[in-house]
Symmetry: C2
Subunit: 249 residues, 2 copies
């Protein structure tokens, strides 16, 4: 197995870091790797905010649902969907680009662009002996996050990535069965097979938790998911994104 | 430089392939790498459809704006945002999850999940000596794509990835200046610096095209962007996504 496959398959989210900041060189290397990702029609519709200031990191840790490892990370990256750049271009080039910038299509493009870049960043960091954890909790309160990071209109902070020297080596959680996620030529429509795959996966996940908690926990995956999704979260999102000028049409 | 950084930084989109299909082993390896990516709260809200059938590949090439390399690829992967699985879970667990599934937040989660997985897939393929190209053109006509691939409600095909043995080695296009994409502690708000960075980048891109076309082309980046964004594309997207049950609230 080559080193790239090994790094990818060895991924686990790291939530405990040594007290050691990343060097500027490491940060630059990670960002340059992020920038090397594909971007839709060369649009480059994202920005990255690196947070060094310890008060801001602390505040972001709180805003993300008191995830202390945000503050304790060696560096905290915030990945943003960014069409502000293209709004500036509209003025430079004396064009009205509003209809494009407000479209659902371009919102999707910016999200995908930012996510591709971020996954390059995570793998780059991991290849350098660092660990990383995506922080979706950043979306708990984007109004405050935006205000703290001073982001303009047409910019949506999407998630953070806490990066640092790992001080733990957690187990990897088994993923959904290959045949459940990967379909050939047509989306799997046999509902019996589909349900059977989910039930087999439930057994796997339940055994995983039982073993690791001495039997105290034996959640199934579908149980976890139905519990989580029964409590709709971040329902302010549409209004927030709209208020920044995006996703209007 | 380690092999992971080298693979990431060496990326270019490949649009010309040798006539050689991927093996099932290669496909499996690529998908397993995709699945190893982080996923928001373990939700795993994506699916991958691999297209082998040559008529379907040909049809998808046409639907994507006559991109012949879709049909000529060694394998064509379609990455989908997928919350259908969680709608099935609602029935299994006898819960009403509609409010979550319809939310803008969960639409974003599914897009980000799919994109993280896809970038792992691309890097895995590249590390195995293959080349890849993202096909956003798949979104030109998602109604027909969905019908061709038989995707159910709560599933949105987001983009394709054409993968195969590369028969070209294109140049890499320079990315936006590091300081323009990466901000420290606060989003860059000095509009003079911001504009200057864009103008410097315009010179770089213009020189890039001039050199490669013997002076026939000298587009600036902001010129390209304003031209592209002056023609809003895929304005049907919001209605389409809504019709599949997503992004309603």
């Amino acid at each position: 197995m080559n080193d790239v496959l090994h790094t990818i398959l060895n991924h686990r989210s790291i939530r405990k870091f040594e007290d050691c900041p990343l060097s500027d060189e490491q940060i630059k290397q990670i960002v340059e790797c992020a920038q090397a990702a594909s971007t839709s029609s060369f649009i480059q519709a994202y920005s990255i905010i690196g947070v060094k200031n310890s008060e801001k990191k602390q505040k972001l840790a709180e805003l993300s649902g008191n995830q202390s490892y945000v503050a304790e990370s060696g560096h905290f990256f915030v990945f943003c969907a960014d069409l502000h750049r293209h709004e500036v271009i509209a003025k430079m080039e004396n064009k009205d680009l509003t209809k494009s910038l407000e479209s659902t299509e371009k919102f999707m493009v910016a999200l995908i662009d930012a996510a591709l870049a971020s996954q390059n960043a995570v793998l780059a960091a991991e290849s350098m002996g660092l660990g990383a954890c995506y922080i979706g909790g950043l979306r708990n309160n984007l109004e405050e996050v935006s205000s703290l990071l001073n982001t303009p209109n047409y910019v949506i902070p999407l998630f953070g990535i806490a990066v640092g020297y790992p001080a733990q080596q957690p187990d990897q959680k088994p993923r959904l069965p290959f045949d459940h996620v990967y379909h050939e030529d047509t989306y799997q429509q046999d509902s019996n097979i589909y349900l059977q795959q989910l039930e087999e996966y439930n057994e796997l996940i339940s055994a995983y938790y039982t073993e690791r908690t001495n039997g105290k926990r034996s959640d199934t995956w579908t149980g976890q998911m139905s519990k989580m999704l029964s409590n709709p979260s971040r329902l302010y999102m549409k209004d927030f994104v709209n208020s920044k000028g995006l996703l209007k049409d």
